[in-house]
Amino acid sequence: MQNDVRKLREDRALSQGDLAKHLSVSRQTVNAIETGRYLPSLPLALAIGRFFGKAVEEVFHVDG
């Protein structure tokens, strides 16, 4: 699985800490999601999509 979380976050000039605060998770967790080490649960993936105003499949995708 790959995702565009880092790109979307940087487009909005947010730090990992800012995004973490919005999603109620830790900064390390945002970093782990961005680097693909951690696959978020469906509720968290939905929250990430909602935060960026996108559908989940626009943020997370199987291929690059």
Binding site: S24, V25, S26, Q28, T29, A32, I33, Y38, P40, S41, L44
Partner: protein, 140 residues
């Protein structure tokens, strides 16, 4: 503790707030220290037992606001990733514990020592695992 914590644990936590873990550590250290004192008659060993368990829980409680790792060890994972880390670490501990118990059983049997303790631990892990499979099969 992962997803479903017992009511007893929750009520202890709500009663003693963030210091419940320290109280638990001091209580456990006190019991072990008292047993050590009665068995060996050495106050220094009893104090060491109390200091190790009490100190460990004090350090975790003090640092859990600053360190996410400490928060997991204190039983309060900060988010779902840390819950997953905790879950996988517990599962790994269960598996390794099973192998240690089996290895200890074989070693004790081979050297003519009493193997019943290892057999009980291995049996408990096996029963816990099989029971867990049936429980979570129904719950998930």
């Amino acid at each position: 503790m992962i997803a479903h914590e017992g009511e007893l644990v929750n009520s202890v936590r709500s009663t003693f707030g963030r210091w419940w873990l320290v109280l638990f550590g001091v209580a456990l250290g006190g019991v072990m220290g008292a047993a050590d004192l009665a068995m060996n008659g050495s106050p220094s060993r009893a104090v060491t037992d109390l200091a190790i368990l009490g100190g460990y829980t004090v350090v975790l409680t003090v640092f859990r606001g600053r360190s996410e790792t400490a928060s997991v060890l204190a039983g309060n994972p900060v988010d779902e990733r840390w819950q997953a880390i905790n879950l996988h670490a517990l599962a790994a501990a269960g598996m390794i514990g099973a192998f240690v118990a089996l290895g200890g059983f074989i070693a004790a049997e081979a050297t003519g020592h009493d193997w019943s303790g290892f057999a009980i631990v291995a049996g408990a892990i096996g029963a816990g695992y099989i029971g867990g499979v049936f429980w979570f099969r129904w719950r998930l």
